[in-house]
């Protein structure tokens, strides 16, 4: 699982360098991401390299969201492809996740909230 972590002040960006998140890799993705996020509270996931997500990949993201928010943290997404955005809208998860168009927008949303 190719995840790349970057610190931006108090925030943690995770670049998901995978072409797809589906039933073949969703469990591995969830486990790897949970390891990356240990102790982190302000998290941004970069999805711009992910060209395909199915319900299994979406389920992994929902699991991560629940864990982060359950621990008092925040999770934001940016860089969705048109196809991934369409999936989120189909199952209305764009209302559950905080979705931004760019990295800067996602990071500045933390500052606005602070």
């Amino acid at each position: 699982m190719n995840l790349e972590q970057e610190s931006a002040g108090d925030n943690t960006l995770i670049h998901i360098n995978e072409d797809y998140l589906d039933a073949s890799n969703a469990a591995a993705f969830k486990n790897a991401l949970q390891g990356e996020l240990s102790g982190k509270k302000r998290i941004v996931l970069d999805l711009q390299h992910v060209n395909f997500i199915d319900s299994s990949g979406l389920g992994a993201l929902i699991s991560i969201l629940k864990r982060v928010t359950g621990d008092g943290g925040e999770l934001k997404l940016y860089g969705m492809t048109r196809e991934v955005r369409a999936l989120f809208e189909l199952v209305r998860m764009h209302r559950i996740f905080e979705v931004y168009n760019s990295r800067d927008e996602a990071l500045s949303s933390f500052r606005r909230a602070a």
Binding site: Y20, D22, S24, S55, G59, I62, E83, A86
Partner: protein, 151 residues
């Protein structure tokens, strides 16, 4: 962007089939094959291709996960047929009969880690059927191909 008229090639029926094993690790490779095939269909919108790929992936995943051991041993036969007006995808397999009525609709206001697959399939495809035949089980997905659409 080049705008093309719908070509007469679409009037010809095309058929593709493949036998795949019931292993989730095969999903990306099968999806790539179907993607390549769909991109060979004249004037099929990229958004439509994405919808079909997602629906086929969800259907294959459901069969691999829920149709019990027969799929692991016998695999799944996947066929695509294109007529002038529709694309028809059929997954044929042996396993546990599927009772669609027993699966509830997901509550989209309450996020859950599972339970969206059938909802996605049935909202992206124009017709979806689950059949028991003399030779096994089938999931049938149909996408109507719009007249005059341009890529």
């Amino acid at each position: 962007m080049t705008r093309r008229r719908r070509t007469s090639a679409k009037a010809t029926i095309h058929h593709w089939e493949r036998h795949i094993c019931g292993d989730l690790r095969d999903l990306p490779g099968v999806r790539q094959e179907v993607d390549d095939l769909l991109h060979g269909i004249p004037d099929l919108h990229d958004a439509t291709i994405a919808e079909i790929l997602l629906a086929v992936t969800e259907a294959l995943t459901n069969v691999m996960r829920h149709a019990a051991h027969d799929v692991a041993t016998d695999g799944i036969h996947l066929t695509l047929d294109r007529t002038p007006h529709q694309l028809r995808v059929v997954l044929s397999y042996h396993g546990m009969p599927f009772d669609r009525a027993s699966i509830p609709e997901p509550d989209l206001d309450t996020p859950r880690e599972r339970g969206y697959g059938l909802y996605i399939i049935e909202h992206l495809m124009d017709e979806v059927a689950y059949r028991t035949t003399a030779s096994g089980l089938e999931v049938i997905l149909v996408k109507m191909l719009p007249e005059g659409g341009e890529k």
